[in-house]
């Protein structure tokens, strides 16, 4: 009952996308080699002997923008969905709690690609909205479940005494949540959310199967016209690699700043 006011426990959620820390020198070096290697390779290909690669580099950038839009839109919406799901999962109201848990379990039990198809076509059946919006909603619904677990763990990592102190000052549960718990939980969930962002950036390539012209789809379009599959996918892979490495780094730096702050 007497929670020590220890610094927040680190939580370990998230999968795949590892963000290299300065302390992890092995990964850090690997990051540099991969990042600058990929950029060098891009330059070499683009300005090399054959014009073929330059043509690809000129064709695909529209797709990069779409990939960003989908990723950013999905992550923002997924954070909202995840916050609601996370709060639902810790709710003492059995109905709300059950509903949130059901959502998380169902989503986690179905492959992302299947869900994407399902939600995309289900939406298409009832409402008329742009393809990209459908894709974003579908991605957010999927990622919201994982995000919900991150928020739940983040909120639960805040010592119980914080809620009790807020309540005993006369705050309502909602006020205590908003003013005291969530601001602290947010710092805890930022690293795993960063991981989710990277994972989502990669998974956003799945929307190319729907009628969304993201980076991968632009590549496919180009490749099927020119039949230069190998060259095109080399470029596509390199661009994804540069993007993920870049954002991993950015998030890593943001995180360090945050920890230095206090």
């Amino acid at each position: 009952m007497t929670d020590n006011q220890s610094p927040h426990k680190a939580i370990e959620v998230g999968d795949g996308a590892a963000i290299p820390h300065k302390s992890d020198s092995g990964l850090f070096t690997a990051w540099r080699i991969a990042f600058f290697g990929a950029i060098a390779l891009c330059l070499f290909l683009a300005f090399g002997r054959s014009d073929q690669y330059m043509a690809i580099f000129k064709f695909v950038p529209d797709g990069i923008l779409v990939t960003f839009k989908v990723t950013l839109g999905s992550i923002l919406l997924a954070i909202v969905v995840g916050l609601i799901a996370g709060l639902g999962r810790i709710s003492t109201n059995r109905f709300i709690n059950g509903l949130a848990s059901l959502y998380v379990e169902v989503i986690r039990g179905i492959p992302l690609l299947v869900q994407l198809f399902y939600i995309y076509y289900a939406l298409g059946r009832f409402v008329k909205i742009p393809d990209m919006v459908s894709a974003i909603i579908a991605m957010a619904v999927c990622y919201g479940a994982y995000m919900g677990e991150i928020f739940r763990a983040g909120i639960q990592s805040i010592p119980k005494g914080q809620m009790e102190a807020a309540l005993s000052l006369g705050m309502s549960r909602g006020q205590a949540m908003r003013q005291v718990i969530l601001p602290q939980a947010f710092k805890v969930v930022l690293p795993p959310i960063g991981n989710e962002f990277i994972a989502l950036l990669k998974d956003s390539s799945l929307v190319s199967i729907l009628a969304v012209s993201d980076l991968l789809r632009r590549g496919r379009e180009y490749a099927s016209e020119t039949f230069s599959y190998f060259e095109t996918y080399t470029v596509i892979a390199l661009i994804y690699l540069v993007m993920t490495l870049f954002f991993s780094k950015l998030i890593g730096i943001m995180e360090e700043r945050l920890n230095d702050g206090r």
Binding site: M1, T2, D3, N4, Q5, P159, G161, Q162, E164, A165, A166, L167, S168, L169, G170, M171, S172, Q175, Q179, V180, P183, Q184, K187, R262
Partner: protein, 247 residues
């Protein structure tokens, strides 16, 4: 004013179970306006539980608790209203680590008492002066010593202008050299007439400040009386044993 006719806190016949374990067994006592009551007893005797029941951090299974005329045991009563009037100070301070000392004091004033920021800050600074750490107003709690943190926690509670304050072992988590500074603040409050219910192992404080001492054991009140009576001439064996161990 509640004066002498109506007690500030009235606890009657309270029972509390954790599962099948009975933590409180028919607890009854009352605290008049301005009175200082010290609760002592061995670990696990239910001291925290009864204290936390007074502002419904724990719900009780039987009995009744009335605070300033409001029925805490009635689920329909808006507990926030009760908590506005009854401060609580915890063993582990529980300051908000993401807020500065000043913000710790102003937060509830603003969101609960609906004071504007300027007024809240003025009150906060006065209280920080009072507990002797005005110079730390802009610091974050992590930068403060335990004694300083606890004094901030007391000031935070005072900022709500409570009618009573509950203290749950406020000095137990402190290094010995910091206990004095916190007890001094509490003694000042006592002199100013604050209604206080204090769970503590500081027998010197109990002797000096308490109007009444309640001794608990196994979820029951075993002995209740003036410090005079309790420390010099306890009637029950358990109380005698406890005193011989702790003094």
């Amino acid at each position: 004013m509640t004066a002498d006719n109506r007690p500030m806190i009235e606890v009657s016949g309270v029972c509390k179970y954790f599962g099948s374990f009975q933590a409180l067994d028919d607890i009854s006592f009352s605290v008049r306006d301005g009175e200082k009551v010290v609760i002592i007893g061995p670990s696990g005797s239910g001291k925290s539980t009864i204290l936390r029941s007074i502002n419904r951090l724990e719900t009780i299974d039987r009995g009744k608790i009335i605070v300033d005329g409001m029925d805490v045991s009635n689920p329909k009563v808006d507990i926030c209203k009760v908590r506005e009037e009854v401060g609580m100070v915890f063993q582990s301070f529980n300051l908000f680590p993401h807020k500065t000392v000043l913000e710790n004091l102003t937060l509830a004033q603003i969101v609960v008492r609906k004071r504007d920021r300027q007024e809240a800050e003025k009150i906060a600074m006065e209280l920080l002066h009072k507990v002797g750490i005005a110079e730390k107003a802009a610091a974050y709690p992590a930068k403060l010593s335990g004694g300083q943190q606890q004094r901030v926690a007391i000031a935070r509670s005072l900022a709500m202008n409570p009618k009573a304050i509950l203290f749950d072992e406020p000095t137990s988590a402190l290094d010995p050299e910091m206990i004095g500074e916190v007890l001094d603040v509490m003694k000042t409050l006592a002199r100013e007439g604050m209604t206080m219910v204090v769970v503590t192992h500081e027998m010197g404080f109990a002797r000096e400040v308490a109007d009444r001492v309640i001794f608990m054991d196994h979820g029951r009140i075993v002995e209740e009386g003036t410090p005079e009576h309790f420390f010099t001439n306890p009637t029950h064996e358990r109380a005698k044993l406890f005193l011989s161990q702790i003094l």
